[in-house]
Amino acid sequence: MVQSLIGVSVPRKEGRDKLTGKALYVDDLRFEGMIYGATVRSPAPRGRIKAIRFDPQISWAEFTIVRASDIPGANHIALITNDQPCLADSVVNHPEEPVLLLAHPDRYLLEEARRAVTVEIDPLPAVFSIEESLRGDTIVWGDDNVFQKLGVEKGNVDSAWSDADLIVEGEYTTGAQEQLYIEPQGMIATGSAEWGVTVWGSMQCPYYVHKALKTLFGLPDEKVRIIQTETGGGFGGKEEYPSMIAAHAALLAWKSGQPVKIIYDRAEDMAATTKRHPSRTRHRTAVSRDGKLLAMEIDFVIDGGAYCTLSPVVLSRGTIHAAGPYQCPNVRITSRAVATSAPPHGAFRGFGAPQSIFALERQMDKVAAALGLEPDEFRRRNFLKTGETTATGQVIREEIDLAALLDRALRESDYHAKQARFARENGRNRIRRGMGLAAFFHGAGFTGSGERNLASVVEVEATAEGRIRILASSTEMGQGTNTILTQIAAETLGVPYEWVAIAQPDTGEVPNSGPTVASRTCMVVGRLVESAALGLKQTLLGAGLGSDDSPEGFARACREYTARRGVLRARSHYEAPPGVSWDDEKYQGDAYGTYAWAVHVAEVSVDTVTCEASVEDFVAVQEVGRVIHPVLARGQIEGGVAQAIGYALYENVVWRDGRMANAQMTNYIIPTAADVPPIRVIFEERPYPYGPMGAKGIGELPMDGPAPAILNAIESATGISLASLPATPEALMAALEQVHA
């Protein structure tokens, strides 16, 4: 029997290549005869395209030029509503919307030519905020600017207000956030009517790109092939936009007959691709004097930008998480995703939940203060317990103990002692300190019936030597897919970690195991790897493998089997855990198969002269089921917390007429090595029976809680109650001045 690989920090599968510079990202690839592509974009937020002018100084005959009329199939990026064109035809709906494509062998001439194309626009009225969009004076999408509207009802909210001892209202807003993966987006494509289209590039979801290109070119499945190259970070930013870039590269390749590479520079990547949805949340909360939640009325609105893209799904997750991990008998959540004239907002780690959880966890502190209760005590009195129901009426069947997570977080952070000391010492000090916390949950996998509809598939195959290959479209983008799926397969089959390889995600070769999003890779795809590996083992058991065989015995069985029967391969299909049901119409039922649970505590200092807030210490306690790989899991939490610190304090997308005005790393600030506090990561492990070896989802969870915890700590340090993200020095200065005025 080999030693268990689960809970062991084996070396990252592709780690060596990354440490030696050998790992090949899309911009590292060069093909014979390859030329470069560039995108001409809309200079205006909204309007009719009057003319496209080409500066006669440029020898345009040298360039491949693609317009909307060159698209062989349907001019849209197939996703949910198919409203987003691949190239704007007669109207533009946001700044930076792609209008025209150019290709040339020389990158420098290409850039010169891009600047020499003028798109003339007859302006149409545009909309730049949630408020303007809701007002409806200008309609920029559909009949009413609304992409999606959702409602959740539990109990009877209307009758609850009269019984309340206290009703507290609050309004909270969050800004956009740029994913800022360090590898900018890029694609290489080849294409011809005879061979179809092949694309290599940086992406999370090869089959999303596959679907988009089939529609765009009107090609059958087998004529479109999408291959993921090493991907330098995604965080959601490479979920849907890669389809657009792949489409552009493929159109240029199709027309020029040459391989075409498109690599965005940082400014183009920041200005044109998706960001986290800005949001506005209104809360009305009824409580009894003894600190029990009686009713929650929540109105949640997100800004989807100019096209629908993934907004309905982002809205769904944000809505379901809006009432948090609390037991409340009466809940009403109304929510809308609305259109504005900004580039479409999209997926970013947490996917709507960080926005609605920010509002809730600020509101919880506000209600606690109104009741005269400590923030931890108020939450403790209302935590969901096993057997109780969430806002969607989901009965929590798994064993959970949020109070224990809270106790652990308070103890590790020395919360109460520090809070008392800071209250004593802050006085009129220049530097004020405070503690803040947030309690939250995150559903793993697709929402509601999503996983059932995805119907993911994984295959595992064995060679005659007993070497294993996992075939899945789930991508490695730094989070550890290759490593954990390998661990799960090796553990299931009882073979060494080194015997298992993972196929490059290539739609020509691997089945569709679904998109690499939604904290689903470990829990859902990992389970499928486990099932397929079990299937393979079953086959071998029927063909002479002993149940306690060594790896050598396994290899022998593989050799005998393949000699007799040829290929040794097993396939698994998604099956929902028993007893899970969801009503898409009423938004009731089991929103997720399971949740990860967490309590995070931030210690913050605020310099009252420079108005800078910094996080001095951070404690993250969470329950994510069984931890497959402790170092990777810890890396997920620390990295997520760091991104959330950026979201809370630094990352400010400045909009000017729907265009990002600070599309540079110089003035869009993310946390550096100098900014991150010590982050103490603690896992409480409760194995989940329907996850591989007991694992649940982990990736998005740490993005949800730190921002409200940090703003709660700022309030505890300074008395300043901020309701908006990010809490930049400018925002803090304005608030401090108001207090002193």
């Binding site: 990354k18 510079g21 990202y25 993966y181 520079d265 730094g478 790393m665």
Partner: protein, 162 residues
Amino acid sequence: MPKVPIALSVNGERRAFAAWPMARLLDVIRQELGLTGTKEGCGEGECGACSVLLDGRLVNSCLVPARQADGAEITTIEGIARRREWDGVRKAFLDCGGAQCGICTPGMILATVSLLGQNPNPSEADVRRALAGNLCRCTGYLRIFEAVARAGRRNPPGECLQ
């Protein structure tokens, strides 16, 4: 303007070629020399993904005109990768989870090598200062700090803090 001749030593090898007068050292390394381990993250000297050693000094190769590197000694990640003396750094990054998506990793390794070359026993503050010019969006930096500390102290091989 015509291309200008440039001769430099890359990872110990003499290379001569012609480059546009305003070509960046980064472009020369990646395109002329085909050393793609050096990455471009921002093109404006903010992220450090394009870090190389120029005459032993850590620089952002996206900010250095290739002409300025004429006659210089350049070390890229490919050069570091060949050197056994830095095995400890690679092992520490691997053990501690210092590399996730890997795109900042070559720059981080160069910055680490540059630091440890000058100060084999850096404090955490030293490490933070030395890596402050290299952005990482995946790790939150702490796994990297731990890797650098471990490589610096020449700790015996083993697993990092879990």
